[in-house]
């Protein structure tokens, strides 16, 4: 009985093995080590209004994880994005969001509103 079930399972497993194995990819993605929340992250805040970041320049210490809080105080949806700092997040009118930025080397990093490229800002790491 158990053997029969096993063999049936194996049969089912065989025909569905493709799906099952493919699902593993997704599961592996989902279960990747959930890292301990980075200690000592600095939190910076920036507001967007009238297509301008306020402040337009953010400052953060080097080699420290950074959380950037973004508030959309304008009258139009924005996409807070940076290729150099690896984030993209849609922030509807009146909403707030936070993006996590990994520790950075000294430098000047650009971020922008992907819906309105005239809106530019910088993160400066001394």
């Amino acid at each position: 009985m158990i053997a029969a079930e096993h063999s049936a399972l194996r049969e089912a497993g065989r025909s569905n093995a493709g799906i099952a194995a493919a699902l593993l990819v997704g599961v592996a993605l989902a279960l990747l080590p959930r890292a301990i929340a980075a200690e000592d992250a600095v939190t910076l805040s920036v507001t967007i209004k009238n297509h301008k970041f306020d402040p337009a320049e953010l400052h953060a210490p080097p080699n420290t994880p950074i959380d950037i809080k973004i508030k959309n105080a304008g009258d139009i949806v924005m996409e807070f994005e940076s290729s150099e700092l690896h984030f993209e997040k849609i922030v509807p009118v009146g909403r707030e969001g936070v993006v996590h930025v990994r520790p950075q080397q000294p430098g000047r990093y650009n971020f922008f509103d992907d819906f309105h490229h005239e809106t530019q800002g910088y993160l400066i790491v001394p």
Binding site: E88, E96, R102
Partner: protein, 278 residues
């Protein structure tokens, strides 16, 4: 008008590349138009729903709702693409060679079509929700949809659709005997790129911090925000500054797909026995 045109074109262009590939992959399969169109329609409807709930979505999971949502649907698309490629490795050659019983092939084939239809829906949903949010935002800010915005949107949609058509025509012009290999490779790279993109969302949400250092920087050569960069991002997951974890997952996705295709793939058809039987 120009802003609406550019944004709509940009997003339709990205979704159009994927739709074009799927159309080429399924060329000659009965009822594929239905599945692809179904995927587009489902994606457009989904885009509207996602756009409507973006505010609420972003507040889920301590403000990481958007990232987790994006990472999840990308992971789902990766599974669908993998499943499709594995299925094709098993049945594709038989179907191409018309050795398979037609009826069975259609029934089995529709499962694979459903997987690709889901991929189309996800691509359209992701890009479309940005279009909806942007156009709605512009309309709301100026107190109604302007004529210029509508014209810009339609021109952008039309140009984006041309990219989809060009992708499709370019691919189907490849000789039949190479097409299978080319489309399998494209699907594999598409899946690996999506997996790496899912990782980027998890990193941004601070769910994943392991191996998060940048490995190389080619953004001076191809910027992520250029059209070439965006196109390559959609097709092969190009990013100018990938993290180590993105590269690991990219390679792992490709490796898993190749292993599965080998494991479940049909034995090579070039056997003297078969040749003799014919």
């Amino acid at each position: 008008m120009l802003a609406a045109l550019l944004i709509v074109f940009r997003e339709v262009f990205e979704a159009g590349l994927i739709v074009g590939i799927v159309m080429a992959v399924t060329a000659g399969v009965p009822a594929r138009t239905l599945w692809v169109m179904g995927g587009v329609v489902a994606g457009v409807l989904g885009a509207g729903v996602v756009a409507l709930f973006t505010g609420a979505l972003s507040e889920l999971f301590n403000g990481s709702g958007q990232e987790i949502f994006n990472a999840s649907i990308l992971a789902f698309a990766v599974v669908m693409l993998t499943w499709h490629n594995v299925w094709m490795a098993r049945h594709g050659r038989e179907m191409a060679a018309e050795l398979h019983a037609a009826g069975e092939a259609v029934v089995e084939g529709s499962k694979s079509l459903a997987a690709l239809g889901a991929v189309v829906a996800i691509a359209v949903l992701r890009e479309g929700s940005e279009v909806v949010l942007f156009l709605y935002g512009v309309a709301a800010a100026q107190g109604g949809a302007s004529f210029a915005m509508v014209v810009g949107g339609f021109v952008g949609l039309f140009l984006g659709a041309l990219v989809c058509l060009a992708t499709y025509l370019g691919l189907v012009s490849i000789p039949q005997r190479y097409l299978f290999g080319v489309t399998s490779a494209l699907i594999a790279l598409l899946a690996a790129g999506m997996a790496a993109q899912a990782i980027a969302f998890l990193e941004q949400a601070n769910i994943l911090t392991a191996l998060d250092q940048t490995v190389w920087d080619t953004s001076w050569l191809i910027s992520d925000s250029s059209f070439l960069g965006r196109g390559l991002h959609t097709l092969i997951g190009y990013v100018g500054q990938p993290t180590a974890m993105q590269l690991v997952v990219y390679a792992a996705t490709l490796a898993v797909m190749i292993v599965l295709m080998k494991l479940f793939g049909a034995p090579p058809p070039e056997r003297p026995r078969i040749a003799a039987a014919e």
